[in-house]
């Protein structure tokens, strides 16, 4: 009886095999997830509160958004990120904002009353809380 109650070297097979197999499963499952579309799905552009355009985030393209006061913003969608690259508004805050990719992230150009936001897809994995 006491023999089956004390640790044997053969017992190590269990954790070693289990960890090995689980790491394999983990890798097999995580590779397609990493390769998949991690960002949001749609870039929604509103001007003065009204929807101006909705573009897929995974298609590279450039778009000039005519803003409220005769100013324009150049939106570039590239590699799953949306960014305002150029604008002729006075403060250029929108140009300096980081490019966005996760659901709920926004770029705002106040003088032009342009809001670019990401909708659909997933929450950001790093700082979804702090926005």
């Amino acid at each position: 009886m006491n023999k089956v109650l004390s640790f044997r070297k053969a017992d190590l097979i269990v954790p070693v095999a289990a960890v090995f197999l689980s790491v394999i499963v983990f890798l097999l499952c995580s590779i397609p997830m990493m390769a998949g579309d991690k960002g949001g799905k749609w870039v929604v552009i509103t001007v003065s509160g009204e929807e101006y355009a909705t573009l897929p985030l995974n298609e590279n393209r450039e778009l000039v958004i005519p803003g409220e006061n005769g100013f324009d913003n150049l939106l570039i969608i590239k590699d799953g990120y949306a960014d305002i690259a150029e604008a002729n508004c006075p403060d250029k805050i929108c140009v300096h904002q980081r490019k966005i990719r996760y659901k709920g992230e926004t770029i705002v150009c106040l003088p032009n009353r342009v809001v670019v936001s990401i909708e659909g897809g997933e929450e950001g994995d790093v700082d979804a809380v702090s926005r």
């Binding site: 009886m1 089956v4 109650l5 053969a10 017992d11 269990v14 289990a18 960890v19 689980s22 983990f26």
Partner: protein
């Protein structure tokens, strides 16, 4: 041989003990928000019974303990989760124990891992998000650690009081 009355009293007492263990466990916060990660204190009882009595008694006590605990302190979901984990864990433990190749440490570790895997499988069906499977390595590792701890406790209980008192 021991009398049927004594045997029923003893198994009932262990069922009650198992419910207490599960209840105490519900106070231990879930680590790092990983679903299904539990200390599995109730498994002490299962390992103990597997070696003292046999698989039949261990199975009955385990099912009673889980059902009663879920009905008293949990809900229907926790019952499904626990039963799935326990069923897989129990099957794996019995198979490994009967093969007589590993000691109770190997049996218990395999049981801990199987318990967590069973819960992941249920979670996959309930949540319908296959990303849960990414928790697998951490649940396997935690299953190993808790399984080894449980084997240590169960083995020591059996060595110190087990056979002398109850046979």
């Amino acid at each position: 041989m021991r009398s049927p009355g004594k045997r029923i009293a003893f198994l009932s007492m262990l069922t009650a003990l198992g419910m207490i263990l599960s209840y105490i466990e519900s106070f231990i916060p879930v680590l790092y928000g990983v679903p299904g990660m539990k200390a599995g204190l109730g498994n002490i009882l299962v390992v103990f019974l597997l070696y003292i009595y046999g698989s039949k008694e261990a199975l009955v006590v385990n099912i009673l303990r889980i059902t009663l605990t879920a009905l008293l302190f949990g809900n229907l979901y926790s019952l499904v989760y626990s039963l799935a984990g326990a069923a897989l864990s129990f099957a794996v433990m019995v198979i490994i124990k009967e093969s007589d190749f590993l000691s109770c440490y190997g049996v218990s570790m395999a049981g801990g891992i199987a318990h967590n895997i069973g819960q992941i499988i249920v979670a996959l069906f309930l949540v319908e998000n296959y990303r849960i499977i990414l928790y697998l390595p951490i649940l396997v590792i935690s299953g190993c650690i808790t399984g080894a701890g449980i084997a240590f406790i169960a083995a020591n209980v059996i060595k110190r009081i087990g056979r002398r008192s109850f046979f």
